[in-house]
Symmetry: C2
Subunit: 270 residues, 2 copies
């Protein structure tokens, strides 16, 4: 049995704001939610925190912090400031973690090692504040096809190397979509243990027609989701199974139908 279902709000972002997502989760009996910051700010952090609490929902994460690399020192400082606000927001809504999409190459740059150093520096700069707020910083390795423009953090092994450095208060957000291909996945999950702070599911479609917005629902593609979940649980993970779908196809559907379909697939394909 997968962990309790959580809805990542990006899954229905074209039609529902956060209030509709909260009401939808309550209506469909989905016990968890994971908002993106744009819809959280759209509703207002305090109002959202209250509505989530009143609906009895758990918050499996807040998406997203990160985006540290920038062309100049001012840009990097601004990114760190924004991450501080994200930590405060995550604290305010009682999120289990702040999911970090670390950022790609600065515009015009080919200096990948430099960008990775900016990510490391940015994370070090916010860890004390995160620990003080009790917000776990969940590093999300993103699929290598996003390395240039979204995340130079590309593998679970690399994320765990960073966790080793960052220490207490750091962990990993593991999305099957980003890591299923990795020949080191089994070994690195064994190494990760309880540092898995979030578990995200969706599926890899064949063919995949867009590098960002063509994910499938669990069971639509080729990822052995139960197999990966078993490895995650073997390390001690007992949190939510969060469904996060970036898909132009599913964004066009009625959100109530999407939630129905997600519930069905959570029970049968995760």
């Amino acid at each position: 049995m997968p962990g309790p279902l959580s809805l990542n709000t990006v899954t229905v972002k074209e039609r529902w704001g956060l209030r509709e997502c909260i009401e939808g989760c309550a209506r469909h009996g989905i016990p968890g939610i994971s908002p993106w910051r744009d819809v959280l700010q759209g509703m207002g952090v305090e109002a959202a925190a209250r509505a989530i609490r009143d609906a009895g929902l758990s918050v499996s994460g807040l998406c997203r912090g990160g985006m540290f690399p920038a062309a100049d020192a001012g840009g990097r400082a601004a990114a760190i400031e924004d991450n501080r606000r994200a930590i405060a927001e995550a604290h305010a809504i009682g999120a289990a973690c702040l999911v970090m999409v670390c950022g790609g190459l600065p515009p015009g740059s080919k200096d990948l090692e430099g960008a990775r150093a900016m990510v490391r520096d940015g994370l070090h700069a916010i860890m004390e504040e995160a620990r003080a707020a009790g917000v776990t910083i969940a590093l999300e390795p993103l699929h290598p096809m996003t390395c240039a423009d979204r995340s130079v953090l590309s593998t679970l092994g690399q994320a765990l190397d960073l966790c080793d450095e960052l220490g207490e208060g750091s962990g990993v957000a593991l999305d099957v979509y980003h890591v299923w291909w990795d020949p080191a996945l089994r070994a690195q999950l064994a190494r990760a243990g309880r540092r898995i702070a979030a578990f995200h599911v969706c599926d890899w479609l064949v063919p995949t027609t867009d590098t960002v917005f063509d994910r499938g629902l669990p069971g639509e593609g080729v990822i052995d989701i139960p197999g990966i979940r078993a490895m995650v649980e073997a390390g001690g993970y007992r949190g939510h199974t969060e469904v996060e779908i970036l898909s132009r196809r599913w964004w066009a559907a009625d959100p109530d139908d999407v939630l129905q379909e997600i519930k069905r697939r959570h029970a049968t394909a995760c």
Copy 2:
């Protein structure tokens, strides 16, 4: 200075067969060529071998063997037979190596470890024949975004693990497009040493609009090609710099213009 330029025929495949490629290389002063098997067979292997020799071209590789995983034993045996023919063809044209695109998941399968075992088994089955023919089997790690449908061999480290097993006569075809993102690249290239049997260049575009057919010419994207080349050469590689571009955009251009542009970029961006 990059190694001598070689033209991979797929770069102009929409407009030129192998004869036109050979003549084009001669006309533009490009000293190397790397045919795909479809155009080689289209011209005829003996005729091609003669024309390549007469034009004074080196053959930096033959593309491609591999594609081992299949849904049943008959399919896997057929793949091995086809690889035997590829070895004979590579020998006939004096190719420096046979480039292996190992294959994805069998249709309907989610068993990634099983597919990887099929690749290993297939490679073991052909190594003796390859060694006898003096054809280096060059394992090409492909970008993880191709894992489902083209290659379950996804990283340089994984390719070198296989080389460790396969021993003499095996090596790696390193394409910057497939490996540039890898946080382990520097360490694995140090490990690879002289096992790099081919060096392919092209570039990662931002954004990338297709997972297969949207590569850039060297310098059009974000890959630090000279930086990777320096690491490859530090291990002892002294072979060609092969330009292999799968691009709907460049396929639409006049092949003579493409070859001009490639020569310019080989001198300035590799």
